[in-house]
Subunit: 693 residues, 2 copies
Amino acid sequence: MTAGLHFFHHPASVAVVGASDDPEKIGGRPLRYMREFGYRGQVMPVNPRRREVQGTATVPSLADVPETPDVVLVAVPGAAAVEAVVTAADLGAKGCVVMSSGFGETGAAEGLRMQAEMLAAAQRTGMRVIGPNSQGLASFSSGAVLGFSTLFTEDPPADGPVGIVSQSGAMASVPYGALRRRGIGVRYAHGTGNDMDVSAAELAATVVEDPDLKLLLLYLEKIDHPEWLVELGERSRRNGVPVVALVGGRSQHGSRAAASHTGALATERRVLEALLERAGIWSVRTAHELVASTELYLQDWQPRGCRLAVVSNSGAMCVLAADAAEDAGVPLAELAPATRTALADALPAFAATANPIDVTAALLTDSSIFGRVLPVLGADPAVDACLLGIPVAGRGYDVERFARDAAAFAASGTPLVLAIPQASVAAPFIEAGLVVFEEESSAIGALAQFLAHRRRMERAGTLRRPAVRGGTDAGGGQLNESESLVALAEMGVPVVAHEFLPDAGQVAAAFGRLGADRVVVKGCSHEVSHKSELGLVRLGCASPEEATSSARAIADAAARNGVPLDGFVVAPMVHGVREVLIGAHVDPVFGPVMVVGAGGAYVEVVPDTQVLLAPCTVEEVREAIGRLRMAPLLDGVRGEPAADVEAWVAAVVAASEAMADPGGRVRGFDANPVMLRPAGQGVCAVDAVVLTR
Amino acid sequence: MTAGLHFFHHPASVAVVGASDDPEKIGGRPLRYMREFGYRGQVMPVNPRRREVQGTATVPSLADVPETPDVVLVAVPGAAAVEAVVTAADLGAKGCVVMSSGFGETGAAEGLRMQAEMLAAAQRTGMRVIGPNSQGLASFSSGAVLGFSTLFTEDPPADGPVGIVSQSGAMASVPYGALRRRGIGVRYAHGTGNDMDVSAAELAATVVEDPDLKLLLLYLEKIDHPEWLVELGERSRRNGVPVVALVGGRSQHGSRAAASHTGALATERRVLEALLERAGIWSVRTAHELVASTELYLQDWQPRGCRLAVVSNSGAMCVLAADAAEDAGVPLAELAPATRTALADALPAFAATANPIDVTAALLTDSSIFGRVLPVLGADPAVDACLLGIPVAGRGYDVERFARDAAAFAASGTPLVLAIPQASVAAPFIEAGLVVFEEESSAIGALAQFLAHRRRMERAGTLRRPAVRGGTDAGGGQLNESESLVALAEMGVPVVAHEFLPDAGQVAAAFGRLGADRVVVKGCSHEVSHKSELGLVRLGCASPEEATSSARAIADAAARNGVPLDGFVVAPMVHGVREVLIGAHVDPVFGPVMVVGAGGAYVEVVPDTQVLLAPCTVEEVREAIGRLRMAPLLDGVRGEPAADVEAWVAAVVAASEAMADPGGRVRGFDANPVMLRPAGQGVCAVDAVVLTR
């Protein structure tokens, strides 16, 4: 992709258009922040009415700057902002940050026009623009604070291993504040605004290239450039900087191809989630979740797996931790016999040696219990991580010792989280650098996210880069049944043997040629996709005569319903052990998307589907099918044979290749039902609608 | 139920067996706490080795107390504890609290024996016992602290409107500590322990009778006496004291009736949840959730409905709040045109007047916005509650004024929650008595719980008291198909017309008598419930001869599989628009339970069921059916007729009456499939297995 936006993070010089002497004003805060937070580059305030602002000499206009600034920060409104951007481009600035609002975000024509003017000026010279309507960028490694967030005075910055990139200013400040109040250093707190030129995802893809970073938090509301999310994911994995993303609201784009009903089943949000998963980006639902697991990402843990051991001085916390682990999908470690023997030695009589481990109230009289129990667990290869829970302690307990023992254990490398509701009890653990939560379910939830995110990143590396080539519904058309079956077969989806007959009189002969006991006769039309309701399908015709009379009845029904018929399809009646569906469409934002699911007549009413970005790998399709509610039926139940899932997978993979091909003529299809035969006997689409470009 | 356990809350006198001079010891803490927390009754320490403890004169043995204590608190171990309980009973004490452990909870024979001995002594005189293995009871209205929780020194008590009853000592202390640290007064903090005699639910049913209480928090791990949960729910509603419950772990009891496979679908946890819902008790999953909504219950709000208006100075928080509201099932209020006009006057240009309402950064320059906007929303009858979110503020904002305006609005009666991450910004709101959360999703989650809990309590009042009469699998047997159909019909479930024939030779004649085109022939046996796999079902027999040969083939299959046949059932082939199931079993703890769901061959592999406690009301069954995944199919889709749901509901209600009848002979049944005919044409069970007592 592009050369990167690193100059925004450590510009050699910054011009501030609209620089104010008042350090509380939007045009004054960046000057104050850069001074206070150690920016060492050149600052050039632009102000036509003052010789100096906040102790720095000004120039009367941007055109008067003594040298070309790396970055121009714009804090003047409306037409003046446009003028500043144009001038910055003319000067040859590398970048511009436009904090002013009143442009595209208003939806008003004048705002949109001015925004377009800024973009055109930037594109003319290759200058990159953040904003407009941006809270600005803050880089605390260099002190280049090109923004006005008030939170930097409320919660003073400290450089650290976390980056924040957000389309919303508030959602740059909220996680910044939450982390700073927890004592975590934040290197970047960027609010990008309207994303007219540089998108939050593109900026984030530069941020994760910082070798000191350990975590990126991302907040998005609209996704115009999913290819940057894909690129962000690749760089995130390459640089070992996990990305946790919160996407607020629904996609602004994307009305579905109405004619393809599996398209309607794949909401934008599901496609977005599929994209994030494919990119190895963890997706959360709330602002709280965005920051809830941060401490874990900063630990340099290298866990082998995700099996948890739980230790507490409370039986109830053991019970609740086991519940929470099940909720979070974290398995409890099955301890080895040797571990249980060693635990029996370390624990009082009556204490259970199975996981979770209740050390009982004996902790009050024997302060060494945690120090004895934790290493025993750490030595068991089945234990990948530990939770130590102390719901009640205080006077009478040797809390300092507990913290020392926990820290010594953590130093051995096994991930350890703590659940300690009392601040006074938690203090020495936090002091020792341990990760402490108030409660077992939040501790386990955070651990579950951290572990699952690692797996997601590893898995993403095994997948193919999605096409993310958006499309529109414009142009193209719908193939009739016969053409659709042919097109599907060309894409690699096996279809039922069939004949197309323009005339009802030809149907009887086709019956003979197909050599089947019973056939289905369908009316073929470019115009309809739900044929059964219109009387255009006749199943189980057992003779040439019946087939012919069915064709005539279909022709009558078509005429009655005003459906123009192209002719008839005759095909053998095919049965399978399961009916499934394969669908595809081109999402206007995210590009080609595959849908797999349970098939049949009720897929819209009781949907059971999964979406995948094209092209897909075999493993990916297998996993998606495994997540269907119907999945248990595929193994063969109640004496029925297992279904040929592998043939289904192969058909989906093949079709996904075709959908990902930029030269392909198909822009969507819906094959339903696809009959799954017994394992080894393949699949066969018996009904299809294909849309072309 | 019983006369109540109020004497535990304000005993006239307390004897402490094992009273210690050391105020940090288990036998010393209660004395110290009662002194410090203002207990005014008589305290009689029992200690054979000291003349006085902590300044109070002792008696050498419990038998020597000058008068009969209301309550005896036992802090001595093992046999001495048993002796104390026996003596307390002999003295005529009303109650005993046994803090000592080492009894039933160990699972050891000696511990169980001693516990049984204590129970027998108590039952002899009617004395009530809390524990053993109890952390004890704490009543801060009277100062009667009959327990040893260390947390009362860490987080000093203050009397207030919340009661806590927990089987676990830690889970009495953890919510106590969480609430106290939030400044909320707690009147009761009871840890009951082994619940040998008094269960936590029974104690809770006494606590909710306190007229000053506004909320009860309940933690349970085992439920031996669900009838007390039912009673607790009734008293909770009668006294207007909501109950929020956390049930840790899985039920210790209850292995399912293996022969009834719908039984296997109804896990204990689902039945427990059904019971809590029926009782109007709100059920949470984590210790955090147990206390997360407390402040809302203390507000005396009387909301009309649950439609939310959101106001924030951040567009992102508006977006995230709308997402969170959808997640929580809280609808956003649709504002009236007059409201939107008034908002347009109150807001800056470009600010949207639709809900959620972004007042924009204009708040920084116009501090009166919240004060103008909130009353406009409060006047709209569509607004039942408000969220005010301030993700970023601080210097430059008139936070004090925002808090005053919010408090003035809240005083008008509309429930208001706030989302404010910065402690300094939140402070004046908290000061004003408002309910403040750090983040919009937790604020909305808490509000959603509060509002849904109100609805649950109101609805619970319209339902019937569940039978909660546990049963066992002992005795009884399984009826064969023919007997099962007859038994089902007697319970009010319509069944298919059918004939039972002991001999295959009689089947042909039955074919004629049934007058159907096609019949099904089934082998009848007491011993099997899954007949198809064994070759005991032949569908679609079209002639007397085919029916006879089918019966002979079934007899062969039965012989081959070693299944003893009672004879044959012949029934017409019946079709419906949908196949569903009705099941019932007697849960060993919770009593008779009904199961409704999608029917067919795959109910165990891809279950779609709901459980209900018997007896059920029509509305309740309708709602349960509405929650099925298959529910949308019942209305009739793709041109098919709607199914006769009302007939299904009627059959379930009738069967639930029969199951709830203590004299009924059926202890479980599984009718699957039950054919739903088109609306108005009824239902018909075509396959059934009935278990009798």
